[in-house]
């Protein structure tokens, strides 16, 4: 004769005076800290005080509960048998039989089945279209071209134009076409080197008037702005992944993961002494992509 619940040795909370005191103190501190939090919020809040008090509030509850569960209730160890995960063979066969029966009830109407599949599939595919199409424009020429155009007036981030005296030798400035100041794609670095009309590569004889050289600021690696210029070595460094470009040889990559030189923008000074673009970039700027052969 037995009852499902019956007093036995493990049904009694073990005696542990010091643990009881610890748990009590924990909960008490938690309450104190919560009152402190209330006052802190009331007077306007202070992050460090809030963090400290939250620690005591939550920690008090936490350590108290853990200690209660660890030192004030029986720990066993208790044992429990594992159930077999696998079904009995008869259960499995009954399941297959049910499946089979359903299949028979459906009959061999494979044509109707295909029709159902086709209608659901078509519905999904067609209705995915407006969703996908609305997400954004297709790239078209967005990746191959930049806002730079022939004779675009070159200006700094402040919108002011550039003349021959704007940069000292060794100076650097981020420039844009006057109609796209701050543009993420058109951003270009303008650097002044000591040599007049420096030719970075054959065919670029007129691209660097008065020692002014302009390169796309988008790293050919992952598109970060190539923002750091080392005047001494005349190299541009990308701070993201440390690609290094040599300015004098046409911003060719000399170090790091960047696979291509920074494209150079052909520029000239017009009759008023304002710096302008001879044309747009002759190649796509920035990182690589599939369609770029």
């Amino acid at each position: 004769m037995t009852q499902l619940h019956e007093n036995s040795a493990i049904d009694v909370a073990p005696k542990n005076r010091s643990a009881e005191v610890f748990v009590g103190v924990c909960f008490f501190l938690s309450v104190l800290a919560t009152i402190g939090l209330a006052i802190t919020y009331w007077v306007g809040g202070q992050p460090q005080v809030e963090g400290g008090l939250l620690f005591v509030t939550l920690g008090g509850i936490g350590f108290g509960m853990v200690a209660w569960g660890k030192y004030l209730v029986p720990q066993g160890p208790f044992v429990q048998e594992r159930e077999v995960l696998k079904s009995e063979i008869v259960e499995k066969q009954a399941m297959l039989a049910s499946l089979d029966r359903g299949q028979k009830q459906l009959g061999r109407r494979s044509f109707l089945g295909k029709m159902l599949g086709a209608s659901i599939g078509l519905f999904g595919a067609i209705n995915l279209f407006p969703f996908l199409r609305s997400l954004g424009p297709v790239p078209k020429k967005a990746l191959t071209t930049t806002p730079w155009k022939k004779d675009a007036l070159i200006v700094g981030p402040d919108g002011l134009g550039v003349n021959t005296a704007t940069l000292e030798v060794g100076g650097i400035l981020t420039v844009f076409p006057s109609y796209d100041v701050g543009g993420a794609i058109s951003q270009t670095v303008l650097i002044r080197v000591a040599d007049q009309n420096w030719t970075t590569k054959p065919g670029r004889e007129t691209w660097g008037p008065q020692g002014y050289l302009a390169f796309s600021k988008l790293c050919t690696h992952a598109g970060c702005p190539v923002g750091l210029y080392q005047e001494l070595t005349q190299q541009l460094l990308c701070p993201c992944h440390q690609s290094l470009f040599d300015v004098l040889t046409g911003a060719t990559q000399v170090f790091g993961p960047a696979p291509r030189p920074l494209p150079q923008l052909p520029i000239y000074f017009d009759s008023n002494g304002n710096l302008r673009a001879q044309s747009g970039y002759l190649e796509p700027v920035g990182p690589g992509y599939w369609e770029r052969g």
Binding site: L85, A184, Y289
Partner: protein, 544 residues
């Protein structure tokens, strides 16, 4: 009284008694490393709480506004609404900064706990049959956690995270064939556009958390159903679970541990500054700062981007960009390999048996060695994400640091794997390893000679007795019919539960399979379904 009434109310509608009894008596094996997954789960709960708080004040928009808030140095500057509202949360909303920093710290703790949890599962072989499904679910959770972490720290629209988004755009762009279309659809056009912040926002607070909640629920339900693994030890077999009971010991310990986790995250959020965006400033596409590093869990990808040689494949009028290899191919291989590991190991060991006892990492030197080797690979990549900082701190040339890492990446992992193999092998060969150590007694003879001997093993009286919960024993013997149930006089109200339990069930012979539908025979007292499955469970227990 209220408990019995509530029990009746719910039981008559949901039949909760059986499941609840099993749950209350569920045994949880005890080991500190089983808490790692709990830390992850608890920090996720904290992420939800603090995250909801943040959504009340954050404005997911890249529209330009002139900042006019509490932070004086930035007053009058042009910033986005996202950036301005993040400043507002940090400086004007009561407890806002603590909540924001707790959210960020909780995210770091969440992912760190998952990573360490994965390592624990891996090195102890807990992923083996029957737990492969949960390993896959867990791999999915890791990926989602990393992605959501990245999306989250991108939302404030500050200079560092904005640069990160720029890199992410380039990475999506690098996917072969569909990359440029994918990038334009995902970002709503060419970089930067106005859609990034609102889209990242709905992904970050809705879509990915919903997926995480779904997978996490599955993760827990499967674990609950399959029961925990346990380390080898006295009385522990592949067919039982030894530990503390759910109610009350484990419930108090685990519940308390949630608060402890929350407390640690709260003090980090209160005292340790994280992501001070007001120091970085608003993201401006042409600006960039020195030492651009992502959060730690993206470090290995950033490191891979840095170490990759400057190769780019150009053929047949198409290009496979440089970033494809370190940031699309590498993570693709990484997570495929991770998810497939249980199946790879099964191919190697040809082991198809069920494992509920864990390996000590030294027991399986080859797996430990593979794990250590792979882990080291990613640790080297992680450190490679700070090449510039290392070069500056130690006054080395960037060139030297880069090449050192390129070499270390392939040299260190095999060495680490070899050392791990040797250590594991040697440790497992030590006689008496894993056994309780006995004290050595040094005695001196009358002649003055010293001798040592081992102390006697601990006497039986001190040994732990592992027993079934008395309630379980009674429950089984009542079901068996070996004992008769007597209603406790003081608790007449429990009678409904007891009637169900004490039903004597005769299933009769089960029909042989393949005969179509089979019917469950009705028991005389009409409660067969309950009684039957209890009987089944119990039969299973006895068989082992």
């Amino acid at each position: 009284m209220i408990v019995t009434q509530a029990t009746d109310w719910f039981d008559e509608r949901l039949g909760i008694a059986k499941f609840t009894r099993k749950s209350l008596n569920k045994i949880f094996p005890d080991h500190w490393s089983f808490m790692l997954g709990e830390i992850a789960m608890y920090s996720f709960v904290i992420l939800l709480f603090t995250g909801v708080f943040l959504t009340l004040f954050f404005v997911p928009s890249s529209k330009d506004v002139v900042y006019n808030g509490a932070y004086a140095p930035l007053r009058g500057t042009k910033v986005s609404e996202a950036f301005a509202s993040t400043l507002n949360i940090s400086f004007s909303v009561r407890a806002g900064l603590v909540m924001r920093q707790m959210h960020h710290w909780a995210a770091n703790v969440f992912i760190a706990a998952i990573v360490v949890h994965v390592c624990r599962i891996f090195f102890t072989g807990a992923f083996r049959k029957p737990r492969e499904i949960n390993w896959l679910v867990g791999t999915g959770l890791l990926v989602l956690a990393i992605v959501n972490g990245f999306l989250g720290y991108s939302l404030p629209d500050d200079l560092i995270s904005g640069t990160g988004i720029r890199i992410a755009f380039s990475i999506v762009l690098s996917v072969p064939v569909v990359g440029s279309y994918l990038a334009f659809l995902l970002f709503g056009g060419n970089f930067p556009g106005d859609s990034i912040i609102p889209r990242f926002y709905s992904l970050h607070i809705l879509i990915i958390p919903a997926l995480i909640v779904g997978l996490l629920t599955a993760h827990l339900a499967i674990m609950w159903h399959q029961k925990h693994t346990q380390f080898k030890g006295k009385g522990k077999t592949d067919r039982n679970v030894v530990g503390v009971a759910m109610w009350p010991a484990y419930a108090f310990q685990a519940g308390g541990f949630f608060f402890v986790t929350a407390a640690v995250i709260a003090i980090l959020g209160g005292l340790v500054q994280i992501n001070p965006i007001w120091l970085y400033g608003q993201y401006v596409p042409y600006r960039v700062s020195y030492a651009v590093q992502p959060d730690w869990y993206m470090g290995w990808l950033d490191g891979a981007l840095r170490l990759m040689p400057s190769w780019e494949v150009q053929a047949f009028g198409h290009m496979i960009p440089n970033v494809f290899f370190p940031s699309v191919l590498l993570p693709g291989i990484t997570f495929t390999l991770l998810g497939a590991w249980p199946f790879i190991e099964k191919k190697i060991t040809k082991d198809n048996s069920e494992h509920n006892l864990l390996d000590n990492p030294r027991d399986v030197p080859w797996r430990t060695s593979v794990g250590v080797g792979l882990l080291t690979f990613y640790v080297v990549l992680f450190f490679a994400s700070s090449t510039d900082v290392l070069a500056n701190s130690f006054s080395l040339s960037l060139n030297f640091v880069l090449w050192a890492f390129r070499i270390l990446l392939f040299v260190v992992p095999p060495i680490a794997a070899y050392i791990a193999y040797k250590l594991a092998k040697e440790a497992s060969d030590v006689p008496g390893i894993g056994k309780r150590k006995r004290a050595l007694i040094i005695s001196r003879s009358e002649e003055g000679a010293f001798s040592t001997s081992e102390s006697a093993p601990r006497s039986i009286a001190h040994e732990e007795i592992i027993e079934e919960l008395p309630e379980e024993v009674k429950y089984h013997s009542v079901l068996d019919g070996t004992e008769e149930y007597v209603m406790p006089t003081a608790a007449a109200a429990v009678s409904t539960v007891i009637n169900n339990v004490s039903v004597d069930v005769d299933l009769g012979p089960l029909p042989s399979g393949g005969s179509g539908v089979y019917q469950i025979p009705r028991s005389p007292r009409g409660s067969a379904p309950n009684g039957r499955s209890d009987e089944q469970d119990h039969q299973g227990d006895l068989d082992e």
